[in-house]
Symmetry: C2
Subunit: 297 residues, 2 copies
């Protein structure tokens, strides 16, 4: 028995065939062309699934998609990364076309399941996954089970308030002083532009900081401090055994990981300081696809 | 078959006999006299348990105690409310004296289990319990199961940072700008003393506020705002179906509950605003005892 995992991204549509060990047996990728609408994307999914069905016995399909979405109803609500997709009943559409049960989850939740099951959190009883890239998101896996939350919004830590000051920055669709507005790759790039005139985003700040530029290092220090507050707040809320950190910003983990671990520890109760484990993600760009393949289990 | 629940408080030691429905059949209370040490308290527990054993078949004992403690090792570490109790192997001591299996948990976690199972969160799939009294604490119950956390520190939201300003107040043993230092009953009383010269703690602030005193209302507004940030941060971390709020400060819930609900909703993603349920606790002072009785299940 096999499962199919689909990583539905704003740019790419990735489809994998998984065996019972969660290993990828076959893999397929194409442009999502989200602007052509959900029907177009579902037809592309159907085509690959029908081809695989002829060769393999497929038990179920899992889809990881940008949110907001409703994992219980299987509906994509209105993701900024899938322009024009509004209240799309993706699960129903694909089930009708393929006759196979489909499960839908937020992409960060799918990645969390992958990292907890087969990645950096493997073997731990509880894992909180945090991704820092364009945005800040996450997911929570306890005793091997993905916790979706009542409305599927577990792990939406990008909107966690880490600075309540009236002067704090407010990003689009976010709380004033929310973590994503202060510590995402987008935020680092924005501040780099404001303070240093950098026009190539977070990457430019990382480059200057690695050359020893004090002002660029300050920008990173501030972002890392907010991330550390976010991680400590997660720990004091659910006390996971392991926090796994992934996302594009972690490509510069040499600059980020150690200070982030140290700052986070300083914000923890003494009894937690030595026991919290913070690890970089292992599965990188594959986490979303692998997690999608694990969703139906 | 019966269970025994023990609510070990800094002031009172409460012991209840519970039937399989979680109802209290018999109840016993005495002063803890914590200063006489753990051996004295354990002897008092043993005496009651042995008497109950002669009449009932006792399956297990649950104890809710002030933390920090290690629920996995059954050891009380060094609670501020049990002065002189350092690294007390309470589970081992009581098991050796009674021959009955004993389970130990943080008192807020026990109360969370009670409110989720038999109180305001009954029937919900996931419940986050928040208690606001001398301190701020909580507990998290998902699918009927209490989540203790890797080191038993799930729900330690009193140490969540809700204001990272260098000028933010730092309470003893807490982070600067931690929720408990800014929004507990102790915090409300402290600020009342600083700004208004009130010497009877939070109660004095509540009295003045209910008489329409603007400065007292401002103190409450600020505390409620920090609580709302804390609740919204919990929601964006684990998205519980219901948040249950208890603790001594909720005796003044006429002044607190509605503004707290409104402010919390304003800090949520729009898709969560209408769906989050916030309810006052139902079991009040009994929650700790009832939860202790539910622990062994």
């Amino acid at each position: 028995m096999y499962t199919i995992g689909i990583d539905l991204g704003g740019t790419n549509l990735r489809i994998g065939l998984f065996n019972e060990q969660g290993e990828i047996v076959e893999e397929y990728s194409r442009a999502t062309e989200a602007e052509k609408g959900p029907e177009f994307a579902v037809n592309n999914m159907q085509e690959v699934i029908n081809r695989l069905k002829q060769q393999y016995e497929i038990k179920a399909v899992g889809i990881g998609s940008p949110g907001p979405l409703d994992p219980y109803e299987g509906v994509i609500i209105e993701p900024p990364n899938l322009t024009g997709w509004v209240d799309v009943p993706l699960v129903k559409m694909l089930e009708e076309k393929t006759g196979i049960p489909v499960k839908l989850e937020n992409d960060a939740n799918a990645a969390a399941l992958a990292e907890a099951t087969l990645g950096a959190g493997k073997g731990a009883k509880s894992v909180f996954y945090v991704t820092v890239s364009t945005g800040v998101g996450g997911g929570y896996v306890n005793n091997g089970e993905l916790i979706s939350g009542a409305q599927g919004n577990c792990g939406e830590i990008g909107n966690m308030i880490v600075n309540p000051s009236p002067d704090a920055y407010q990003g689009p669709g976010l709380n004033k002083g929310a973590l994503e507005g202060l510590a995402s790759g987008t935020a680092i790039g924005r501040i780099g532009k404001e303070r240093l005139g950098i026009t190539n985003g977070a990457q430019g700040v990382f480059e200057l900081a690695s050359q020893g530029d004090k002002a660029a290092q300050d920008i990173l220090d501030e972002a890392i401090n907010y991330l550390a507050i976010g991680l400590a707040n997660i720990v004091h809320t659910v006390n996971p055994e392991v926090i796994v950190i992934g996302g594009g910003v972690m490509k510069s983990k040499d600059l980020i990981l150690q200070p982030l671990i140290e700052k986070t520890r300083n914000y923890l109760y003494p009894s937690l300081r030595d026991s919290l484990i913070i690890k970089p993600a292992l599965l990188d760009q594959k986490a979303g696809l692998i997690g999608a393949g694990l969703l139906p289990k």
